[in-house]
């Protein structure tokens, strides 16, 4: 069993499992942190961004000044943002039979995998994953396509040139494999290959089925293990209220689905108590409307608390009420209706959290100059400092409230205790404390045996050996079996059959009937075909009670019998007959001096104490 690790990002995994000629891809996350190296794509012409100076080497060589721009000491690529794809060279992706997608965050690379690799398999995902994943992809494509950029920088990717660049560009990995965003057509084509998986498991996840698994691949844990989501939500609300009370605007860069529902729910409960009832909340995304509506219709996938609301009937999330009461308004873009409705101070939720494309770029440019305004980062996927780099200098307040509800290390340790997997496989980042908190031994996976770690482009041979295979018995063969009870509750039967193996399935079929011996030649051929079916010796079971055995020997005329205890059993000495019977747990030996008659007699005596079948 082998695991091909195509992504090094712990929360955006893309692993391929090869086992018994089956190839399964587990998730296909897309690492978008590469976009942080690019200049933002402004929706409205930004003089500041377009006037940034070109970058030149220390010696004054300015041959890259068209591709690279400098802003407050940082260098950015002035081009359409590109993404770091999962490794494509490690394994022939056309051999992947199945792709299993666990959640919408981990499917953003799907079009890259399904469209240009010769992939012919099937993708499996649940309905909310597909629907919300589609929204995220749609938004991404929309954000990038609506700001067409003529220039495509590629010179800097040259390995020799890259070495000359300042960090972090210099250290960026696999830049040659970075790709531009897919098109909507590719998205549709990729999504058409998905087969929906029905709802069958309880949420929260039923861990019972994971119990005693051979290998547990652990990915997608919290990215901010030191931040407690509840505390962060509180922090978010407090900072939001303080800003708005002082007449400032709040910008929340976010994805169009996920944490935003929780934030809106929390604000729904909070705004009245904080005296913010008159503050407008805007949600701007090309898919804002669909996202808000979709979230209300997947009730069976929500936690129990939310599910029950559907029967009241009440929408599971309270943002419906915020919309009804006009407190929350949503727009596909800041062009159009929004510009006429726009009122300040206000709170704007919009993408993209990388601050490199989407409507958020405009708000950063618009509000960045005033210290009254605040940008609150809630998505943990991007370093907020790096995200803000092309906007420096910035007067706006920045608050970092990462809300990551993925499993933390305490939960993982509980899970491992409960599930007790034989082996744990995880990204290497989880096997040591985070670099910034090297003393926090609690922020790593601690299990026995130690977890096997992987990094990008690594292949792990999983320590998984199958000792048993499941074999089916054909009904007619099963019919012919005659079980014999050897102990109460345990019956045994001998089976003669032909083992048929195909597609990793094993079936025991009845042996072909011996054909009638019609002629010499034919008979010979028939016996060639049929496996050697000579008369089988019966199998024996049971143990020999020494005292009774000795009595039996005496009854049968043996005298002068001596019994010796050995480490493994007994030795019965028939001194007169110069014979030795060695009785052990799993074997009995009769050692006599070439007296076959005596041996057979003794054997039969021994056999009387054993069961045969």
């Amino acid at each position: 069993m082998k695991l091909y690790c195509l992504s090094g990002h712990p929360t955006l995994p893309c692993n391929v499992l090869k086992f018994k000629s089956t190839t399964i891809m587990l998730d296909c996350g897309l690492d978008m942190t590469s976009t942080l190296n690019f200049l933002p794509l402004p929706l409205v012409q930004s003089p500041r961004l377009s006037n940034l100076p070109g970058w030149s080497l220390k010696d004054g060589n300015a041959f890259l000044d068209k591709e690279l721009k400098e802003c407050s000491g940082h260098v950015f690529v002035d081009s359409v943002p590109e993404f770091c794809l999962p490794e494509t060279e490690l394994i022939d992706l056309s051999t992947v039979d199945v792709i299993l997608i666990s959640n919408y965050h981990c499917m953003m690379a799907l079009p890259y995998i399904t469209e240009h690799t010769g992939f012919t398999g099937t993708v499996y995902a649940t309905e909310p994953t597909v629907q919300i994943g589609r929204l995220l992809m749609e938004e991404l494509v929309n954000f990038i396509e609506r700001v067409p950029k003529a220039q495509s920088a590629s010179l800097w990717k040259n390995k020799d040139i890259q070495r000359l660049l300042p960090s972090p560009l210099k250290d960026a990995v696999e830049v040659s494999t970075w790709r531009r965003c897919y098109t909507m057509q590719e998205v549709n084509s990729a999504l058409s290959k998905i087969q929906l998986v029905g709802y069958s498991q309880k949420i929260p996840m039923d861990q019972a089925s994971l119990k005693n698994s051979d290998v547990l691949v652990l990915t997608g844990l919290t990215q901010i293990p030191t931040a407690n989501p509840d505390g962060m939500v509180g922090e978010f609300c407090s900072n939001l209220a303080l800003t708005v009370r002082n007449g400032g605007n709040v910008l929340v860069p976010c994805y169009p689905s996920g944490v935003i529902y929780d934030l809106l729910e929390c604000l729904y409960q909070y705004i009245d108590s904080a005296g913010l009832s008159n503050i407008p909340f805007y949600f701007i995304s090309p898919v804002a409307n669909s996202s808000l509506e979709f979230s209300q219709i997947f009730a069976e996938w929500l936690c129990h608390n939310k599910q029950t609301k559907v029967y009241l009937p009440e929408p599971p999330f309270p943002h419906a009420e915020l919309i009804q009461t006009n407190k929350l308004k949503h727009y596909p873009s800041l062009h159009g209706d929004f510009s006429s409705d726009f009122r300040q101070p206000c709170v704007v939720f919009t993408g993209h959290p990388s601050l490199r494309f989407g409507d958020v770029v405009h708000f950063m440019e618009l509000w960045g100059k005033s210290s009254l305004n605040t940008v609150i980062f809630t998505e943990p996927d991007f370093s907020y400092l790096e995200a803000l780099a092309p906007y420096q200098p910035l007067a706006m307040k920045c608050i970092y409230c990462p809300i990551d509800t993925r499993l933390n290390f305490i939960q993982v340790s509980k899970l491992l205790k409960e599930v007790q997997p034989l082996h744990v496989v995880c990204p290497e980042q989880y096997t040591q404390p985070p670099p910034a908190q090297s003393h926090r031994m609690d922020l790593m996976i601690d299990c026995q045996p130690p977890a096997m770690s992987y990094r990008r482009a690594e292949v792990l041979a999983l320590p998984f050996k199958r000792r048993y295979e499941k074999i089916e018995i054909m009904p007619e063969l099963a019919d012919s079996l005659v079980p014999m009870e050897i102990k109460p509750g345990i019956s045994l039967a001998t089976v003669s059959a032909v083992l048929h193996t195909k597609d990793n399935k094993h079936v025991l079929q009845p042996p072909p009937r011996p054909t009638q011996p019609t002629g010499g030649k034919k008979r010979k051929r028939a016996s060639d075909d049929i496996p050697d079916c000579k008369v089988l010796k019966p199998l024996l079971s049971g143990s020999i009670p020494v005292e009774q055995f000795v009595q039996a020997l005496e009854k049968h005329g043996f005298s002068d019998i001596k019994v010796e205890d050995t480490a493994k059993g007994h030795i019965v000495l028939l001194q007169e007959a110069e014979t030795l019977i060695q009785i052990e747990e799993d074997s009995t030996h009769i050692i006599c001096d070439n007296d076959e008659m005596l041996r057979v007699r003794l054997r039969d005596l021994v056999l009387k104490f054993l069961q045969k079948f």
Binding site: V233, G234, C237, L242, R245, S273, Q437, H439, M441, D442
Partner: protein, 898 residues
């Protein structure tokens, strides 16, 4: 059915009561049982018995001596006597549903009062139905365990008096109830309540030497031994207590005054118990050892007679043997016993090996078990210094480990590192999170208890304790950097642990009583700020952090010359004030609330100081506080009211952009608070407003001083209509302040003093009372006088009595009836008293008020109010009626069904 016999024919009946037991029928006589049986079915006597204020005619001479002969006591009032037979037959009827446990408990309480006050024998003779009930429960029948338990306890209570005991013995009732033939052998014994009743019955019964013989005869002691291990904890514990009691009783007479007596000379009963304890102490089974230790602990805790010394002398070697086992069995009980011995004046002074045993125990027990022992030793008034030092070292060990794990300066360690036990502690701290957290929390709690005690160890290691507490807090927040593997583990256990955080913050607050080196105090403020800032601090942790912060700020040295905060604390405040607004905006109401409480405390303490005022006014805090007056959570509104009251008193309320709102267009705080008082749906904010108003009136707040009468009139008017009695009571408090200010003004006389003020002419009295009349204070007070909530009525009564005393010397109009208005006011008050409070009194002239006050029986009213309001409901008669009524109602249902 045999004809009813006259009362006098009951054994030892009324006519024979005073002549002693010799006249009573012999034990087990047929007449005894027949009468007892008949008593159950008896019809209540038609003629009620007289109230018996008797001088206990039935009590024997020794009983009379014991309780004070000739004391009159109310045996049982006739109404109850009349109801009792019916009650007994209800209880004896298995078909009747038994009243709930609490009723039976109340009945027993009542019987206890009766038997304690008078003769039980007389009680039995007067109420033969009781005897009937006791006999009846012995019959094999399907009687509820509750009733059986009740009867056992009742029998024991009655037999506590020796004459009554003898009387019951004649019918052999007691052996039948408590002996082998009783419930002990029957199916009813499986009910824990019956076993408990059996024990409690014996516990009451065992008061006199005859009882001891009885216990020995019926073999009760062996049963008690076995009940010590009963599956019901209540039964097991009661059995232990009973053993202690019997032991004490049996040694009371003979052993007293003979400290040198050998246990071999002790009464048989006592010897039996002691042997049993010895046997248990030698046992290999921990539960048995625990039982023995508990019996000894209770014995030494309650009894300091010389014989306890003999007992301890005999048993202490066995107890010491327990220490040789590994692990020490029943460690918790052993600690209790040793502390009990050490606290006993008789034992601690005499037993030579005690301190050695304690020292040995300290070193043998695990750190978790040794903690309580160490604390107990340190709390002892007298104890060898060496042992105290050892105990303190044990207590400090976990903190030493913490300091070691984070490699604090070795200087800190020296004073904490007492013994070499630290490695043991590390072993306890590190294997599991639960053990680590538990030990640290207990240690911190123990030290917190110890800190304020006069006998705490000296020198008190303030600096290392501060260092360790700060380190623990930093480990909990993840900001400490451990330097060893042990430290790493500790960090992993403690990160985010709310329990330890709370315990450590509490202890840190307590440590503010002492001083510390400058850099440590800096660390204290730093860690407090870290907690106050961190978004991960839970609401309870934040509250504790606020409390600790206030205590530390309070204890920080004041700048010489002025009482302002010292520069150090000031710096801290500058960092804290930006945090506070965020806390006041928290979505969690508990956080907003504790933030406001902290603010109120701070303003109360430093509101007058320039530096603090500047810092506060520069922050957003005052504005936010005002906004929180409209918080959806009532507790927060209440705290905001208190904080705003303080802010306003100190002149710190911000009137935003006052040039833009000339002439006070901005709603005044007074108006805002009045609005809360009249409209808020919850009681807490309204109570808070009343407190603020009272304080404002007392302090002469500017908003109030302008037109005090208008203010008081308005507040009293609103408060009088409030549904919350505390608001009304606080209204009376405010009225009293106003009263003091109005009447007390001519002289600086203390309003509470009994001596009347210097006499003033009547005209000036009227003048003085007029403002009170104008604000309708009397209408408010009179209404409160008839308030349905007693505290309000009491307070009003006190206020009016005070007022009457003030006006007594003034003379005033002669004769209350002379003014026609007085009669009409009195009539109105009568209507009010009757519950019709609709009609207002309107404006009253001072003369009328004085006249009404004089005509009222305020003292009588005060007396009536002083009695508890449930005195009627609590009467035994009402209890009996309740029990019967319940059954009666059910009985009717039964009739309907069939």
């Amino acid at each position: 059915m045999p004809p009813a016999r006259p009362d006098t024919e009951y054994p030892g009946g009324r006519g024979h009561a005073s002549s002693g037991h010799s006249l009573a029928p012999s034990a087990g006589s047929p007449a005894f049982w027949r009468d007892a049986r008949r008593a159950l079915g008896r019809v209540p006597p038609s003629v009620p018995a007289k109230i018996r204020q008797v001088a206990r005619p039935g009590a024997g001479p020794e009983a009379a001596e014991g309780r004070g002969a000739g004391i009159s006591s109310l045996i049982m009032d006739p109404e109850c006597s009349q109801l009792l037979p019916a009650l007994c037959s209800v209880l004896a009827d298995p078909r009747q549903p038994v009243a709930d446990d609490t009723c039976l408990e109340k009945l027993l309480d009542w019987f206890k009062t009766i038997t304690e006050a008078g003769s039980s024998l007389l009680l039995l003779q007067e109420n033969p139905c009781l005897l009937g009930l006791l006999c009846h429960v012995l019959k094999p029948q399907d009687l509820s365990p509750r009733v059986l338990s009740f009867s056992l306890r009742l029998a024991g209570m009655l037999a506590a008096q020796e004459d009554c005991f003898q009387y019951l013995q004649q019918g052999e009732l007691l052996p039948r109830l408590f002996g082998e033939a009783g419930p002990l052998g029957g199916a009813a014994w499986t009910a824990p309540s019956v076993r408990s009743g059996w024990i409690q019955g014996l516990r009451s019964l065992a008061r006199h030497p005859s009882a001891l013989c009885f216990l020995a005869d019926c073999g009760a002691v062996d049963t008690i031994f076995s009940l010590q291990g009963d599956s019901s904890l209540f039964v097991a514990s009661a059995a232990g207590q009973l053993l202690v009691h019997i032991l004490g009783l049996s040694l009371q007479g003979p052993a007293e005054g003979h400290p040198g007596l050998q246990t071999g000379d002790w009464p048989v009963c006592a010897q039996k118990i002691v042997s049993h304890i010895e046997e248990s102490l030698r046992s290999a089974a921990t539960p048995q050892i625990t039982q023995a230790l508990n019996v000894l602990t209770t014995t030494f805790g309650h009894c300091h007679d010389p014989w306890t010394q003999v007992l301890w002398g005999r048993l202490s070697p066995l107890v010491a043997c327990l220490l040789e086992k590994d692990p020490v069995p029943a460690a918790h009980s052993l600690v209790d016993l040793l502390l009990s011995v050490a606290r006993s004046p008789v034992l601690s002074s005499s037993s030579s090996g005690l301190w050695e045993t304690l020292a040995q125990t300290l070193s043998h027990l695990s750190p978790t078990q040794a903690g309580p022992l160490a604390l107990g030793i340190l709390k002892l008034q007298e104890c060898p210094q060496v042992l105290r030092a050892q105990a303190f070292a044990v207590l400090l060990q976990p903190l030493t480990c913490v300091l070691e794990a984070t490699a604090q300066a070795p200087g800190l360690l020296d004073s904490l590192d007492g013994t070499g036990g630290a490695s043991v502690t590390v072993d306890t701290l590190l294997p599991s999170k639960a053990a680590c957290v538990g030990l640290l929390c207990r240690t911190l709690a123990h030290l917190e208890l110890l800190q304020p005690l006069p006998q705490r160890p000296s020198p008190w290691p303030q600096a290392p304790l501060l260092g360790a507490t700060v380190t623990i807090l930093r480990l909990c927040s993840g900001s400490a950097t451990p330097t060893s593997d042990a430290g790493g583990h500790l960090c992993a256990f403690l990160v985010g642990c709310v329990r330890v955080q709370r315990a450590a913050l509490d202890f840190l607050g307590t440590l503010s009583q002492g001083t510390g080196p400058r850099e440590l105090v800096t660390q204290v403020f730093a860690v407090l700020l870290e907690y106050l800032t961190s978004p991960d601090s839970s609401p309870t942790v934040l509250k504790k952090a606020f409390q600790a912060t206030f205590r530390w700020l309070q204890s920080s040295p004041e700048t010489p010359g002025c009482s302002d905060l010292d520069p150090h604390a000031h710096l801290f405040l500058r960092e804290l004030l930006p945090v506070l607004p965020k806390r006041l905006c928290s979505p969690c109401w508990e956080v907003r609330d504790s933030g406001l409480e902290f603010l109120t405390q701070m303003i109360g303490r430093w509101g007058g100081q320039a530096g603090f005022r500047r810092a506060l006014l520069a922050s957003e805090v005052p504005e936010l506080t005002e906004q929180l007056l409209r918080d959806p959570e009532s507790y927060v509104r209440a705290s905001a009211v208190a904080a705003m009251g303080q802010l306003s008193s100190q002149g710190l309320r911000v009137t935003p952009a006052s040039p833009e709102h000339p002439g006070g267009q901005q709603k005044s705080l007074l108006a805002e608070l009045l609005h809360i008082l009249s409209t808020d749906s919850e009681g807490f904010p309204r109570r808070a407003v009343m407190h603020v108003f009272t304080q404002w009136l007392r302090d002469g707040h500017a908003d109030v001083a302008g037109d005090t009468e208008r203010f008081v009139a308005r507040v009293l008017q609103v408060a009088s209509q409030d549904l919350d009695w505390e608001v009304r009571a606080q209204g009376l408090e405010l009225a009293l302040v106003f009263l003091e200010q109005t009447l007390g003004r001519p002289s600086s006389h203390c309003p509470y003093a009994v001596t009347p003020p210097v006499a003033a002419p009547p005209s000036s009295l009227a003048q003085a009372l007029r403002p009170l009349c104008r604000v309708q204070l009397f209408e408010f007070a009179f209404r409160a006088l008839f308030d349905c909530d007693r505290p309000v009525a009491q307070k009003s009564c006190d206020l009016l009595l005070f007022l009457r005393a003030q006006t007594a010397s003034y003379g005033g109009p002669q004769g209350s009836g002379s003014v026609p208005e007085v009669a009409s006011v009195e009539a109105a008050l009568q209507r009010w008293q009757a519950g019709d409070q609709g009609q207002p009194l309107g404006y009253l002239e001072p003369e009328v008020v004085v006249a009404v006050l004089r005509s009222m029986d305020l003292e009588g009213l005060r007396g009536a109010l002083a009695e508890s309001s449930d005195r009627v409901e609590k009467s035994p008669q009402s209890l009996l009626q309740d029990v019967l009524a319940t059954v009666g109602a059910l009985g009717e249902d039964e009739a309907d069904c069939y």
